[in-house]
């Protein structure tokens, strides 16, 4: 650290670390941006909704029914949330296992997005559970081994821990704890490997849940290969989400970003990877249709919707990513990534809510409170991302504050 540090006025830890060096009033004033105000409004409606849900129960807050026990808190918050948080393991693997060091600048935001994504998926799940205070039961008290849900519970808890540990280096750099930092840095490879194992298991198992619903899930989506579908699409989801997140971060946090990292080049590289994964995913889904001999279903209403999903949201983005990467069209790539993210959400909602109970008399539509709660969780997630990025070396690891980082 330069010798000038001693010439600077001394400030308390709270002011320095938490209030960005400002006095409390100045800090609060600096928070009055349009984005923060919108977030505040969402939370002003959302937090009472959360309280209401826990005070009055699921029936009062949701449109769940005896025929439709799962809604968007499972389909969107849990399933789509976990899929889109897969950028953590895909980027960590690319950098630390495959040795693609050029992606190092975007590993940290990807891990942070992963950690916050999983955290808020779990919070969405907590809102959905009827008896969330029993969450320790499958971990410590009663083990339902044959259950896919049991495996998911363990994997998610362990993976959340892994992501938290993987994010400790920037936290220790922020706090200036050098010994802890060097210890944390030594664990990176091990955590990455463990993280890939856990991700493989639970990303596929989230699909595996629906193996138990052969008569309820529409035959075009039901397949013994659902676990493979979910796992493969999670890779594409992670890559697309990293592209989207890096685009948004670079605009929102311009002064924090390392201007000398050619992010466009990295985005092109990610697009190349995503195009291959989506290409393979399309064929794998097609194989599922062949294996079940379901061709005749493609002409039905749901068949058309299935084609929209695999052609419009998988094959088309695959082609666009490839073309965009070849011609270095970064804006096109970013829009394709957003479209792919939407496609992942569409797929997860299809499997859990739209194509599930497709032939039941009583169909499910989310209530406004369900939508609000999900939106609120996302808002809190984005706000947390912003809080962390404004303080810790996530977007620019060239020790903006001059501290050494391995």
């Amino acid at each position: 650290m330069s010798s000038d540090a001693r010439a600077l006025p001394a400030r308390g830890w709270v002011t320095d670390k938490l209030f960005l060096g400002l006095s409390l009033t100045d800090y609060l004033k600096s928070l009055l941006t349009p984005g923060t105000i919108i977030a505040g409004l969402i939370m002003a409606v959302g937090i009472p909704v959360i309280i209401y849900r826990f005070a009055y129960g699921l029936g009062a807050a949701t449109n769940l029914s005896q025929t439709n026990p799962w809604g968007i808190w499972i389909g969107f918050d849990m399933l789509a949330g976990v899929a889109l948080a897969a950028g953590g393991y895909t980027l960590a693997t690319s950098v630390y296992i495959f040795g693609l060091k050029e992606y190092h600048p975007i590993v940290r935001p990807a891990i942070l997005t992963g950690f916050l994504g999983y955290l808020f998926a779990v919070l969405g799940l907590t809102a959905d559970l009827g008896r969330p205070w029993n969450l320790p039961v499958p971990l410590f008290i009663s083990w339902g081994g044959p259950s896919v849900m049991f495996e998911i519970a363990w994997c998610v808890v362990l993976y959340l821990t892994v992501l938290f540990l993987e994010f400790l280096p920037p936290v220790f750099e922020w706090l200036g704890w050098k010994k802890a930092l060097s210890l944390a840095n030594k664990t990176t490879i091990g955590l990455t490997v463990f993280g890939v194992i856990l991700s493989t298991l639970h990303q596929s198992s989230l699909g595996g849940l629906f193996l138990m619903a052969p008569t309820k899930l529409h035959p075009l989506w039901y397949s013994p290969f659902i676990p493979a579908y979910f796992f493969i699409s999670s890779i594409a989801a992670g890559l697309a989400m990293v592209i989207v997140e890096s685009g948004l971060s670079h605009r929102a946090f311009k002064s924090r970003v390392d201007h000398h990292v050619d992010v466009d080049k990295l985005v092109v590289g990610l697009a190349r990877g995503a195009s291959i994964v989506l290409f393979c995913y399309f064929f794998v889904k097609l194989q599922g249709v062949a294996d079940g001999d379901r061709w005749h279903l493609l002409g039905t209403g749901y068949g058309l919707w299935f084609l929209v999903e695999i052609v419009g949201f998988v094959l088309v983005p695959s082609m666009l990513f490839a073309w965009g990467a070849r011609n270095r069209r970064v804006t096109l790539i970013r829009w394709t990534a957003a479209w792919t993210v939407l496609g992942i959400i569409v797929n997860r909602l299809n499997v859990s809510v739209i194509a599930l109970n497709w032939n039941a008399a009583d169909r499910y539509v989310p209530s406004w409170m369900e939508v609000t709660l999900s939106l609120t969780l996302i808002t809190i997630g984005i706000s947390s991302f912003r809080w962390i990025v404004n303080r810790m070396p996530v977007l620019n690891e060239h020790e903006i504050t001059g501290r050494h980082h391995a």
């Binding site: 330069s2 320095d16 002064s255 504050t401």
Partner: protein, 241 residues
């Protein structure tokens, strides 16, 4: 485990094999397509010579300064004020100046906001961003007589303004120093080298010191656009979060 009857199984399996073979046939060209670069783009890149390692000696980075990514430096002094100037890279990039338009004493500046303008003898002006938030306490009046002092001695006599800082600690998180600043400077130079075409000799390939006014040598027609890109003061963005 959806039961199939044996007859549909035959056709289903043949179809599956067929799709798999189709996939393999399509995969090879698709891999090549997605992993390659379009020919026009590739030729353009090939015209640029391979990078040489940037000499960190070209733009020495004094240890006692804090650098903003817009190539301004800040030095907190013992009297509580912060001295501000532009760095060696910016000096070399822009070259000889006609004048420097400095902000008035008592006016406010913001970190990452436009603060002063470098005027060159062709009437072009290039803005630069202030490295800290605060109020102007003093300006370097010598520059009115000798604007080139900024270019000749950017870290010494060429200082620009002295600022009374508002929120220095907060500003510090966005400034580079020490090894980080050196690495940043190296990368800046490496990026600049990538723009060179051979034979112009703007940067002597034998490792000599760069020419004053590099921007004009690199891109005579639009050198101010180039300079603004490096100083983060192009039309669309001004570097502020």
């Amino acid at each position: 485990m959806i039961p199939h009857d044996i007859l549909t199984l035959y056709s289903a399996k043949m179809l599956e094999y067929g799709i798999a073979i189709l996939f393999l046939l399509l995969f090879i060209p698709f891999w090549r397509f997605s992993q390659s670069t379009a020919t026009a783009l590739a030729t353009a890149r090939a015209a640029v010579p391979a990078r040489k390692k940037a000499e960190s000696g070209w733009f020495p980075v004094p240890a006692d300064r804090l650098f903003h990514q817009g190539h301004a430096w800040a030095r907190p002094d013992s009297d509580g004020l912060v001295t501000v100037g532009l760095d060696g890279f910016a000096a070399r990039l822009v070259g000889p100046l006609a004048s420097v338009a400095l902000p008035q004493v008592g006016s406010k500046v913001g970190q990452g906001e436009r603060a002063w303008r470098l005027m060159t003898d062709d009437g072009q002006g290039v803005d630069m961003l202030a490295p800290v938030d605060g109020t102007i306490a003093a300006i370097n009046t010598d520059l009115a007589k000798d604007p080139d002092a900024t270019i000749a001695d950017p870290y010494g006599k060429g200082w620009l303004v002295r600022v009374r800082p508002d929120r220095l600690r907060a500003n510090l998180t966005n400034l580079l120093t020490g090894q980080a600043a050196r690495r940043w400077m190296d990368e800046t130079v490496a990026g600049l080298q990538a723009r060179l075409s051979p034979g112009l000799g703007a940067l002597a390939q034998d490792g000599g010191v760069p020419v004053s006014g590099m921007a004009r040598v690199i891109d005579a027609a639009n050198w101010h656009g180039l300079a603004r890109t490096y100083l983060l003061t192009s039309e669309k963005e001004d570097g502020r979060a």
